[in-house]
């Protein structure tokens, strides 16, 4: 290859990419991927999360069908299926073969949320800058890398690798404020057949298996409905620092005790606030008025405090000091 060609090729490539991109903005690429839930694919994925000092790796075979059907086979190190999640679009089953238990519940029902998809998208683009970070390849497919950078400090940054061939997210990266990776997922291989066997998205509990309702699928109650639920609730602000707004609430019954589950979102990160008249977690752990770090979530933390005879736990994928600031706003 002669020197002149070497100089021209990168410029040609950039122009071609820009031309390709010029048809879509980064926001459009991302929105298209989020709205295209009916893409049929089957592939293998590896996910890594760093929670506190622990690192967890999981491998799964994912199948996605029409009408929000899916099948997820989470593999044990020896390649056997240690956990199976199947949805027919209406019901979701979680089968744990080693314990002969099936948990079932309603499938994801995003239409019932208090915030419409448009409102949630507006919140996302208000709190995060969506930009094209580059291009690359993942699972044998060409991808765009879209980054979501928080407008304010202290929050995680996210990047998504979206296939050019089909609007499917093939890679994700979640970055801590210090730039280290908090979590990542990568499809190692993927195919886009025209159809998949419908039997993949059907489930029948095996014999001698206990089937239980997990009861954790959320309801989406407004603050007014939460107050009318009869639960004793403290005063909750409509919004929190760094762009979080109250989205909806729910009432859980855990160990025969009622727990209020209040959710705040900034369009990307969700904060869950649990409130009860009974303490949570470890039996002999002290509860103080001052919010303090309690434990870890998947990539974030939990903060606990007690106020006016009510117990609170706040959790979300944020650094502990940021969560403590949120907790002070909630007191």
């Amino acid at each position: 290859m002669n020197g002149g060609l070497k100089k021209i090729l990168p410029i040609v490539f950039l122009i071609a990419s820009a031309g390709q991109l010029g048809a879509q903005t980064p926001e459009e690429i991302l929105k298209n991927a989020l709205e295209s839930s009916g893409v049929i694919y089957r592939g293998r994925m590896i996910s890594v999360t760093h929670s506190g000092e622990k690192t967890r790796v999981s491998e799964a075979v994912l199948s996605s069908g029409p009408n929000q059907t899916f099948r997820k086979e989470f593999l044990a190190p020896n390649g056997t299926v240690e956990r199976l999640v199947v949805s027919d679009g209406e019901t979701e089953w979680i089968y744990i073969p080693a314990r002969r238990v099936v948990w079932q519940g309603n499938a994801k029902k995003t239409d019932s949320k208090a915030l419409t998809p448009e409102e949630e998208w507006a919140l996302l683009t208000k709190n995060y800058k969506v930009a094209l970070a580059g291009e690359g390849r993942a699972a044998g497919q060409e991808i765009w890398t879209i980054s979501l950078s928080p407008q304010g400090g202290g929050k995680t940054r996210r990047s998504l690798g979206i296939a050019k061939k089909a609007p499917v997210i093939l890679t994700t990266r979640e970055y801590n404020p210090d730039g280290t990776i908090a979590a990542q997922s990568d499809f190692t291989d993927i195919e886009f057949p025209s159809r998949l066997d419908p039997a993949l998205f059907e489930f029948k509990a095996p014999q001698n298996t206990q089937v239980k309702d997990h009861g954790l699928e959320p309801e989406f109650l407004s603050w007014k409905e939460m107050k009318e639920s009869g639960l004793k609730l403290g005063t909750i602000p409509a919004s929190l620092p760094q762009g979080f707004v109250f989205e909806s609430g729910d009432v859980l019954t855990v160990a025969n005790k009622d727990v209020a589950h209040l959710r705040f979102t900034d369009g990307l990160i969700v904060l869950s606030l649990f409130e009860s008249q009974d303490p949570f977690g470890r039996a002999r752990a002290p509860w103080n008025d001052e919010p303090e770090k309690d434990g870890n979530t998947r990539t974030g933390h939990t903060i606990r405090w007690k106020s006016h005879n009510s117990y609170y736990i706040l959790m979300g994928e944020l650094p502990a000091p940021v969560l403590q600031t949120m907790a002070h706003s909630l007191k």
Partner: protein, 151 residues
């Protein structure tokens, strides 16, 4: 018998209370052991003196000494004791047990398991506009599995 029989054996020998098998070796030893002969002579002298003591007849109506009974077990004592004795004792023991339990094993309220809340939080993340960073959304089912294990 190469060793000297102890005083109990010599005394029993003097009182002719040993069996034929027991008596033979003792007799053989005493026959050739001057110290044991002296001890045996002493037992026989005491026996003779005791036998020479005057006898008295017990008066009429005198009841024999009660036979020695074994020390009763606490349960037998309790069974035979009067209610005015064991009832307050039992009450005091119960009070002591309750106080000790309250002091050393304070009751803590039952807590709501955190695993259920973590599972609920993860389940809600699946409702988000953007998928969680774990594209497989495996966190909810994993939390449910650990909640099931902790139940």
């Amino acid at each position: 018998m190469t060793h000297h029989p102890d005083s109990e054996v010599l005394s029993a020998f003097a009182d002719q209370e040993l069996s034929l098998e027991e008596r033979a070796p003792v007799a053989a030893h005493v026959a050739s052991c001057p110290p044991c002969q002296d001890s045996l002579a002493g037992f026989q002298r005491i026996k003779s003196l005791a036998g020479a003591l005057p006898r008295k007849t017990l008066p009429e109506g005198w009841s024999p000494l009660p036979q020695t009974r074994p020390i009763p077990s606490p349960w037998e004592w309790l069974k035979n004791a009067r209610p005015t004795v064991w009832a307050p004792a039992l009450g005091f023991a119960l009070l002591l047990a309750v106080t000790a339990g309250w002091l050393f094993f304070p009751k803590h309220p039952e807590t709501i398991p955190l695993e259920a809340l973590l599972a609920a939080h993860d389940r809600y993340l699946d409702e988000g506009l953007l998928p969680p960073a774990d594209l497989s959304s495996g966190s909810f089912s994993a939390k449910l599995a650990s909640y099931e294990e902790s139940e």
